[in-house]
C-alpha cells in the first residue's frame, strides 16, 4: 500500500511537469514603433524576448544566435490586449439553479477548442477573464486565461499564478431568476440581503473551522465542510478579487457599503453603465470599473448611459478598462478603446491602458502583463498602423513570446476539432460564441417581463 501511494505521488509530480510545458519563445522584434503604455511611445525600437519574457528594450539590439528576427519597420508594437470580461472558451457559463454558487469555478469548464479563441488572437488579444454568468447574486469563480490556441488540455491555457476572482451580480439578472423560480432574491433589496446573509454565514462558518483547527484534542470532530462557504471566507480574507456585474449607481454604491461593512477591498464593477455618477466614490473606495465603450439600452436598467463613461472614470482616478463580453466585440477592442478619444479626449496611453494595463490591474496580473517593460511576459500584438487608428489591422499576436496568430500565414480552417459526422454545410462564420452568454443556462424572460420591473 505504501509503495502504491509513493507511485501516486510520482505520477502527480509527472502530471504537474507536463502541465508546465507550455512553450516559451525567443524572438527579436526589430525597429518597430513600440507603444509601451507605461513609458510612452518609443520609435525605431527593438524588443528582445528570451524564454517568453521581455529581456531587453532598446535600439539596434544584437540578434542572439538562433533567435528569430521580425522586422517591424513601419509597424506598431503594443502589449497584448486583455479582456476583463469574456465568455468565450467556456463549456458552461451559469450554474443558474442557485443564487449563491461561489463553489463553482470556470476553471472546471475551460473549452480550449473554442474557435473564438483564435478570433480573439486575430484581434490582438492575449488574455481573457473567462467569467461566470450573471444569473446569480454570488456566481461562480472566474478563470484568467492566456490564449494559447492549439493546446487541447484546458490546463495549458491557464494564466499560471493569476489571482482567484469571482463573479457577483446585481440588478435585473439575478432577480429575474429569483422571480422565475420563486426563490430569493426577487428585488434589489433582496440582493443586498442575500449578500449580507451570505457573508454572515461565512463568518459563522469561519469561526467553527477556526475553533476546530485550534482544538488540540485528537478526537475532535470536523464541522460540516462547504466549498461554497470556503470561497466566501477566502473573499473575506482578501484572497479572491470580486468582479461584480452591475449597472445602476445606487446598487454600485450599495455594494461598496456592504463591502466596507465586511472589510472586503478588492472590487471591480463590471459593465457599470452608471459608474460615472459615483466616480469619486469609486476612486475613494479603490474600486475598478470595466465598462463598455458605447453599448446600452438593451434593458431598462441600462438606459441611463453615456459614451463618456470610461473617460469620466479615468479622469476621476478610477482604474478603468473596456471589455467585450462578446465573441465578436473581442476582435476589435482597440476600436472600443479609440472611441474614448472622441468621447472624452483621452490620450493615447490612457486609451490603450483601458485594454491593457488597467484590465491587468483589475485581474491582479499587472506585474506580468499589460505593458511593454523589461521583465514582463512577452504577450505582444503587432499592428500595421497605430492601433487607435480606425484603419489599424492586427498582424501578429504573441503569448509568452510564441506567435499564435500571424495574418500572413493564417489558415482558412483553424478549428481544433471537427465532428466527423457533421455536414459540410454547417460551417459558417456565425456561431453561438458571438451571442451574449451572460444569462446562458438561466431561465430567460420575455420582453414584457423585462419591462415589468
Amino acid at each position: 500500500m505504501k509503495k502504491f501511494n509513493l507511485l501516486i505521488v510520482l505520477m502527480l509530480s509527472a502530471v504537474t511537469m507536463l502541465q508546465a510545458q507550455v512553450p516559451k519563445g525567443d524572438v527579436l522584434i526589430k525597429n518597430g514603433t513600440v507603444l509601451t503604455v507605461t513609458n510612452g511611445t518609443l520609435e525605431n525600437t527593438d524588443i528582445l524576448v528570451r524564454d517568453g519574457k521581455i529581456d531587453r528594450i532598446g535600439k539596434n539590439l544584437r540578434t542572439p544566435n538562433g533567435v528569430e528576427e521580425i522586422d517591424a519597420t513601419g509597424l506598431f508594437v503594443m502589449p497584448g490586449i486583455i479582456d476583463a470580461h469574456s465568455h468565450i472558451a467556456g463549456s458552461a457559463i451559469n450554474e443558474g439553479t442557485s443564487q449563491v454558487t461561489s463553489e463553482v469555478s470556470m476553471e472546471d469548464v475551460v473549452d480550449p477548442f473554442d474557435i473564438s479563441i483564435y478570433r480573439a488572437l486575430a484581434g490582438g488579444v492575449t488574455s481573457i477573464h473567462l467569467m461566470h454568468g450573471s444569473a446569480n447574486v454570488i456566481g461562480g469563480q472566474n478563470e484568467t486565461l492566456k490564449l494559447r490556441y492549439g493546446f487541447t488540455n484546458p490546463d495549458d491555457l491557464r494564466f499560471e499564478g493569476a489571482p482567484r476572482t469571482i463573479k457577483f451580480a446585481l440588478g435585473e439578472n439575478p432577480t429575474r431568476g429569483g422571480r422565475r423560480r420563486g426563490i430569493q432574491p426577487q428585488s434589489r433589496m433582496g440582493v443586498e440581503a442575500m449578500l449580507r446573509n451570505s457573508f454572515n454565514e461565512a463568518l459563522e462558518y469561519q469561526k467553527k473551522w477556526e475553533a476546530y483547527r485550534a482544538d488540540n484534542s485528537r478526537r475532535k470532530v470536523a464541522p460540516e465542510y462547504s466549498l461554497r462557504m470556503e470561497t466566501l471566507v477566502d473573499i473575506l480574507e482578501g484572497e479572491v478579487l470580486v468582479h461584480c456585474h452591475s449597472y445602476r449607481a445606487d446598487e454600485i454604491y450599495m455594494l461598496m457599503k456592504v463591502f466596507q461593512d465586511f472589510g472586503i477591498e478588492k472590487l471591480t464593477f463590471q459593465h457599470a453603465n452608471e459608474a460615472y455618477k459615483v466616480a469619486p466614490e469609486l476612486a475613494a473606495f479603490g474600486a475598478g470599473a470595466s465598462v463598455f465603450s458605447d453599448w446600452w439600452a438593451y434593458k431598462l436598467e441600462v438606459y441611463y448611459s453615456t459614451a463618456y463613461n470610461a473617460a469620466i472614470l479615468t479622469n476621476n482616478g478610477v482604474t478603468t478598462s473596456i471589455n467585450s463580453d462578446s465573441g465578436e466585440l473581442i476582435r476589435h477592442l482597440f476600436h472600443e478603446a479609440a472611441k474614448t478619444q472622441k468621447y472624452g479626449d483621452l490620450t493615447d496611453d490612457e486609451a490603450l491602458a483601458l485594454i491593457t494595463l488597467n484590465p491587468a490591474k483589475q485581474l491582479g496580473i499587472d506585474n506580468r502583463v499589460g505593458s511593454i517593460e523589461e521583465g514582463k511576459d512577452a504577450d505582444i500584438a503587432i499592428f500595421d498602423s497605430h492601433p487607435l487608428d480606425i484603419y489599424a489591422i492586427p498582424l501578429m499576436t504573441f503569448v509568452d513570446g510564441v506567435k499564435y496568430f500571424d495574418k500572413a500565414t493564417d489558415e482558412k480552417d483553424q478549428r481544433l476539432y471537427i465532428d466527423p459526422e457533421s455536414s459540410i454545410e454547417v460551417v459558417q462564420i456565425f456561431d453561438r460564441e458571438t451571442q451574449h452568454r451572460c444569462m446562458e443556462g438561466a431561465d430567460l424572460v420575455d420582453f414584457f417581463e423585462l419591462f415589468n420591473n
Binding site: 450554474e95 454558487t101 463553489e103 470536523a222 466549498l227
Partner: protein, 563 residues
C-alpha cells in the same frame, strides 16, 4: 463497531466470486424442464485461442459445472459430455464489457416535486444516489443481455441508469439465470458517475457537478474520520449523523473502490482527471471516445481506460466527379482528418503501451464487430483487439483469475466461431457463459450487405410477406398477411405445406422492430414460437425461438409487390 462490520463485509465481498460459482451449481433444480440435460460439454478438434497469441490447434476443451475442466490436444472426455465437433471452429475466451447498462432497466425519471427548491433539490431529483446498487435495476427480460451475448460477450460490468451519481456497478455473467442474483460475480464493485445534471435544479450542469462532487467527497472524508473515531471509542463523542450518501463514499475515499467516470469527450475525461488529481480517488475512465490527444498523459498515470465501442460513421465526401468548390474539398479533408483520429487512436494507444478495455455503453450491439474491424483496419493489431475484449479487460476489472482467458479452472466463458473472430465472414456459432450454452445458427449473408441494409424508409408493414424459416428439419416457407386495425396490427401465417393457418399473436411494430408469436399443438403440449426481428424497407430479418426447447432459428421474409 461499525467499522469492524464494514471490514468484514469487504472480506466477504472478496469471497463473493467463489460463492457465486457454487450458487450457480446448486441452482439447477428445474421444474420447468428448460435446462439442458447436461452442463458438460466437450468441443473437439478445434482451434483454441487461450489468449491472444496463445493458440492450440486441433485441441479439445471441456466445460463442466460452469468451469473449464481441461483443454489441450490430449484430453479425456467425460462420459456425460455433449460432444461438439469443433472441426474448422475457433474457440476464444468470452468477451468482457468494461462498462455498460447490460441487463439494467432504465427507471422512470424522478418526478419534479411541486415545491422544488432549485438550489437544494432532494437527492433523488438531483441524481445523487451513490448508495443505490445496479442490482436493483437488473431484469432477465432485458434484451440487452442477449444482444451482447450473441456477439460474444459473457461478462459485463453493468452500471445503473441515473444522473450525476446513479449508484454502484456490478460484475455480471451473461448466463442462463433464473434470477438476476445468479448472474452476479460481484456487486458493489464501482461507484458510477457522469456529467448529467438535474433538469432545472442543482447541480444543473458541469459547473455545479464538479463543485458538488468535491463537496461530497471532502465531506465524506471528514464523515468517515468521525465514524471511525466513534466506532473505536464512542464515549463522550458526538454521535455521527448517518448519511447514506456519505457512507457510499467511504470505500471510495479509502481507495478501496474505484470511480468509473462516463467521460466520452476529451474535455470530460480531463475534468474527471482534474477531480482525481484534486481528491486522490482511484479513477477509471469509461466510454472514452476521444483519447488521441491524451495518450501521453494516460500512459504516465495510473488511470484505467475503457474505450467506447461506438465509432463515428465514416464521412461521406462528394464524389470525384461531383462539382463542388475547392473549399468544400478542403473542409471534407479536414473532417476526414478527425475521423481518422477517431479510428486510429486504438492502434496508437497500443503502440504507446496503454492497456485498455472496451465499453459498449453508447454502442449499438449490431455495430460492434464492424467497429472492431474498423479499428483493426486503422492500426490496432488483432492481438490487442482480442486482449482488450478479454484478458486486459479482466485485468483492469480485477477478475483475471477467474475469466478473460481459456485455461483450466476458469469460468466457462467462451465464444465459438466458424473462423478467425475478426474476419468479416466469420460468424459466432455458440457462446458459453458461465458454462451455459447458447447456440446461434449461421445466417446467410445478404448480398452486398454492409450491415446498413436497404436505406428506403419503412412505410408500413401491412400486406403480404413471403417468409422462410430455416429450422433444423429443413427450410419451410409460407406467407404472412398483415392487416392494420386502427393502431394495432393483426396477421395470419399460412404454411406452404398445407398445415392449418396460424394467428399471429401479440403483433407489435415499433421503431422498425416487428415481433409476434404463434402457437401450435406439439402432441398434447402447446408450443409457442416467438419471432423478433427488424424490418428494413421490404425485408424482415428475424429470429424465431421456442423457449421451451431453448432453440432458435432464423426467419427471413420479404414483402410482396402489391401488384
Amino acid at each position: 463497531m461499525k467499522l469492524h462490520l464494514r471490514k468484514s463485509i469487504f472480506r466477504l465481498l472478496a469471497l463473493l466470486p467463489l460463492l457465486c460459482i457454487s450458487l450457480g451449481l446448486s441452482a439447477q433444480s428445474d421444474p420447468s424442464g428448460e435446462s439442458p440435460a447436461t452442463r458438460t460439454y466437450a468441443i473437439t478438434n478445434a482451434t483454441i485461442v487461450q489468449a491472444a497469441g496463445d493458440t492450440l490447434m486441433n485441441a479439445t476443451i471441456v466445460f463442466k459445472n460452469g468451469l473449464i475442466r481441461s483443454l489441450g490436444t490430449d484430453v479425456s472426455i467425460p462420459g456425460d459430455a455433449e460432444v461438439i465437433d469443433g472441426t474448422d471452429m475457433f474457440v476464444y475466451p468470452g468477451f468482457i464489457d468494461g462498462m455498460s447498462y447490460t441487463g439494467a432497466v432504465r427507471p422512470d425519471s424522478p418526478e419534479r416535486p411541486d415545491d422544488l427548491f432549485t438550489p437544494d433539490p432532494p437527492n433523488d431529483y438531483a441524481g445523487i444516489t451513490p448508495e443505490e446498487q445496479v442490482t436493483s435495476q437488473l431484469s432477465l427480460e432485458e434484451n440487452s443481455i442477449e444482444d451482447l451475448r450473441e456477439i460474444g460477450f459473457t461478462v459485463s460490468h453493468t452500471v445503473p441508469y441515473g444522473r450525476m451519481l446513479p449508484g454502484s456497478g456490478a460484475l455480471l455473467l451473461l448466463n442462463h439465470a433464473e434470477h438476476p442474483d445468479e448472474m452476479l460475480i460481484q456487486d458493489n464493485v464501482s461507484m458510477y458517475t457522469q456529467f448529467v445534471g438535474a433538469p432545472g435544479a442543482y447541480p444543473g450542469n458541469t459547473l455545479g457537478i464538479m463543485a458538488k462532487f468535491r463537496d461530497l467527497y471532502r465531506n465524506a472524508t471528514y464523515s468517515r474520520q468521525h465514524a471511525e473515531m466513534y466506532a473505536s471509542n464512542p464515549a463522550g463523542m458526538e454521535r455521527p449523523t448517518r448519511d447514506r450518501v456519505m457512507e457510499a463514499f467511504y470505500p471510495v475515499v479509502s481507495n478501496e473502490k474505484p470511480i468509473f467516470y462516463n467521460a466520452s469527450s476529451s474535455l470530460e475525461a480531463r475534468r474527471a482527471i482534474r477531480l482525481k488529481n484534486d481528491l486522490g480517488f482511484t479513477l477509471v475512465l469509461g466510454n472514452l471516445e476521444e483519447g488521441w490527444g491524451m495518450i501521453d498523459e494516460l500512459k504516465s498515470s495510473d488511470i484505467k481506460v475503457f474505450m467506447s465501442l461506438e465509432l463515428p460513421d465514416e464521412p461521406e465526401n462528394a464524389d470525384e466527379d461531383e462539382e463542388v468548390t475547392e473549399e468544400v474539398r478542403e473542409l471534407e479533408e479536414r473532417r476526414m482528418e478527425f475521423y481518422t483520429k477517431h479510428v486510429s487512436q486504438f492502434g496508437e494507444m497500443e503502440k504507446a503501451g496503454i492497456k485498455f478495455g472496451f465499453s459498449s455503453i453508447d454502442a449499438n450491439s449490431r455495430d460492434i464487430h464492424d467497429n472492431l474491424r474498423t479499428m483493426i483496419a486503422n492500426g490496432l493489431s488483432e492481438t490487442a483487439a482480442l486482449n482488450a475484449l478479454t484478458r486486459d479487460a479482466a485485468e483492469l476489472l480485477g477478475i483475471s483469475e477467474i475469466t478473460g482467458s481459456l485455461s483450466e479452472g476458469m469460468i466457462a466463458n467462451a465464444v465459438v466461431a466458424n473462423g478467425p473472430i475478426f474476419d468479416e465472414d466469420t460468424q459466432i456459432r455458440m457462446v458459453f457463459a458461465d458454462g451455459d450454452k447458447f447456440d446461434y445458427e449461421i445466417r446467410e449473408r445478404r448480398s452486398g450487405g454492409n450491415g446498413n441494409g436497404d436505406a428506403t424508409a419503412t412505410s408500413g408493414i401491412e400486406g403480404t410477406w413471403r417468409y422462410t424459416i430455416e429450422s433444423p428439419q429443413g427450410e419451410q416457407g409460407g406467407t404472412m398477411v398483415i392487416e392494420k386495425d386502427g393502431d394495432d396490427y393483426t396477421g395470419t401465417l399460412t404454411s406452404d405445406d398445407g398445415a392449418p393457418d396460424q394467428e399471429m399473436e401479440n403483433l407489435t411494430f415499433v421503431n422498425n422492430s416487428l415481433s409476434f408469436d404463434f402457437s401450435f399443438d406439439g402432441g398434447g403440449q402447446t408450443i409457442t414460437i416467438v419471432v423478433v426481428g427488424t424490418v428494413t424497407g421490404t425485408e424482415y430479418d428475424a429470429e424465431a425461438s421456442i423457449s421451451a426447447f431453448n432453440v432458435s432459428f432464423p426467419l427471413t421474409a420479404y414483402k410482396e409487390d402489391p401488384q
